[in-house]
Amino acid sequence: MSEKPQVKSSPSFFNNPRNRSIIYQLLLLFGLGYFFYSIISNTLANMEARGIQSGYDFLFNTAGFDILMSLIPYDATNTYGRTFIVGLLNTVLVSIIGIILSTIVGFIMGVAHFSHNLLIRKLATAYVETFRNIPLLLQIFFWYFAVLAALPSARQSMSLGEVIFLNVRGLYFPGLTPEGGASVVYAAIAAAIIGIFVLKRWAKKRQDDTGQQFPVLWVSLGMLFGLPLLALIVMGFPFAWDIPYLKGFNFRGGVTVIPELMALALALTVYTGAFIAEAVRAGIQAVPHGQTEAARSIGLKEGKIMKLIIVPQAMRVIVPLLNSEYQSLVKNSTLATAIGYPDLFTVFVGTTLNQTGQAIEIVFMTMAVYFVVNMTISFLMNRLNSSVALTER
């Protein structure tokens, strides 16, 4: 019997599944590339045909307009590029304030949902149901116009000890101007923070080794306030008070929190806080009740149960939810434009765009900023998430 030699028949080039899939992908890539190319070249050609300027040279031209609030020195003689930075910093400021405050509000309200006190429990439910069901824009208008209208004029300001003032123009409180020796105080603050970390590690090691506990919280607080205070006394208070005073129409000096910032931060906090409260509630409810019972049975106190058993497990559910809430908050901050808070959107996409007319470049830069900011939040939250995630051994 003669056997035919087994020829390993290789399929033709086009029937080879590997080749095929590569070809398809190349075709798709080519198609997509052509799609974008034609759109882009079309737009550029149209803009050129209509005599619309393009490019980023405008960033170096003088802006010529003023901005209500800036974290860096800015006046009308600066460039459009600087208006971008000013707007960006204002956006970051309101976002950070909003994220911190909404987290605090959200956690308190989320935990309050499990209170044994009926009133507190109902209050938490009412808060969540009210504020997450009203459009954010309306809330911003409410805080701005309703609250603004309730505040007195500059000349009839409410004041606290003649150093802190509140009126329709904002909240004014004394600023500190550092003098010689102020750096010692800053160093003391830094030393306290480093000290707390060291203390925490030492206390943990000691507990692991000996089982003895150490009152870390109280000692930390003592260090945080005690060290700078000591430095202040030793250096003879190396700061000058800059107390706001009424001159002409408005207060001068000190630190001013403009009502636009207050209204926006408040609205973002209250609105996002309601969603975070729900996330916290979900996280806590996700921890089986058996865990609490088991913890009780080994004699842990209620406070310790919350801190050591419930919260670490709840965080696994809460953190991914928080991530998207924070990102929404940053994006929602663009509603600032409704009340004139000078955030990136108001300043850059608003005034700068209108003065230069370079819509495409400016919108692109702004989109890129929100993208980068949100990616950063996402990155940080993912880091946090992996630190609280279940470690499988």
Binding site: F65, D66, I67, L68, V168, T356, I360
Partner: protein
Amino acid sequence: MKRLTSVIATGLALGLSFGAQAGTLEDVQKRGSVSCGVSTGLAGFSQKDENGTWSGLDVDVCRSVAAAVLGDASKVQYKPLTAKERFTALQSGEIDILSRNTTWTHTRDTSLGLNFAGVNYYDGQGFMVSKDLGVSSALDLDGAAVCIQAGTTTELNLADYFRANGITYNAITFDTSDQTRAGFESGRCDVLTSDQSQLYALRIGLKDPSSAMVLPEVISKEPLGPVVRQGDDQWFNIVKWSVYAMVEAEFMGINSANADQAKSQGNPGQQRLMGVDTDSGEKMGISNDWAYNIVKQVGNYGESFERNVGQGSPLKISRGLNAQWNKGGIMYSSPVR
């Protein structure tokens, strides 16, 4: 590299549509209406009444173009725009004319791909303050909070003026003029600054108009006029001459009441404007009685002025600079011949 970045930027931010090439006249005739960008509501210039009918000095420009092109002043689609949106709307072809108290400046004329087709109101920037502030001049405003509308020339003039005079101020920038008024009324700012015509319009919108006053200083030149896209000269001409025709009609003494008479038995100049024995319309691609339609349906410039912002309106603005050149103003039309 620069080209590459702008290519990428453009690709990722396709805000503009690709319609609207030359041939706006054809588009308008095919559509049967003129698409006109106006303000979101500014007394005297472009405002909507309770029936949804638009009126105002800027609206009359839209109506006169519709009368010239389509023979019917009512065939206008109005698009209310904020100051920030207006140029993009025109560039992208969403509207055919922008007639929205827009100041003619060099930057806008040369870098936005737009052309200003004339001036229908000579304005200047001023300040409105609350009377109990006790201020009589803008120079007393050191440290004041100023409410202002975003994306306007006003923002730039304000910075220039205060800097030139060494006065400090806080600018509170809002999106619409209604919001600036709300800010002014709530006491957020001491001063509201805008073009003077707008100040009068905003003032009568206050709960108590007599509580506020307009300061005497006029700190800028603000020639307001309609804008069209660059590169469509035919349409540019039509809009330009529609504005001129209203001014010229007033100069010649033709108004909506006597337009028929002027057409049939006026002097040669009047008859020519009214479309008798002339090809003035054909040269622009429209009918020869274009100016007759404008005057008959919309009125001459003086009528439009008095009806919308002058003595026949709550604003009661006097003609001032906007009077005919031979009556002490600077309104002057090139001859229609």
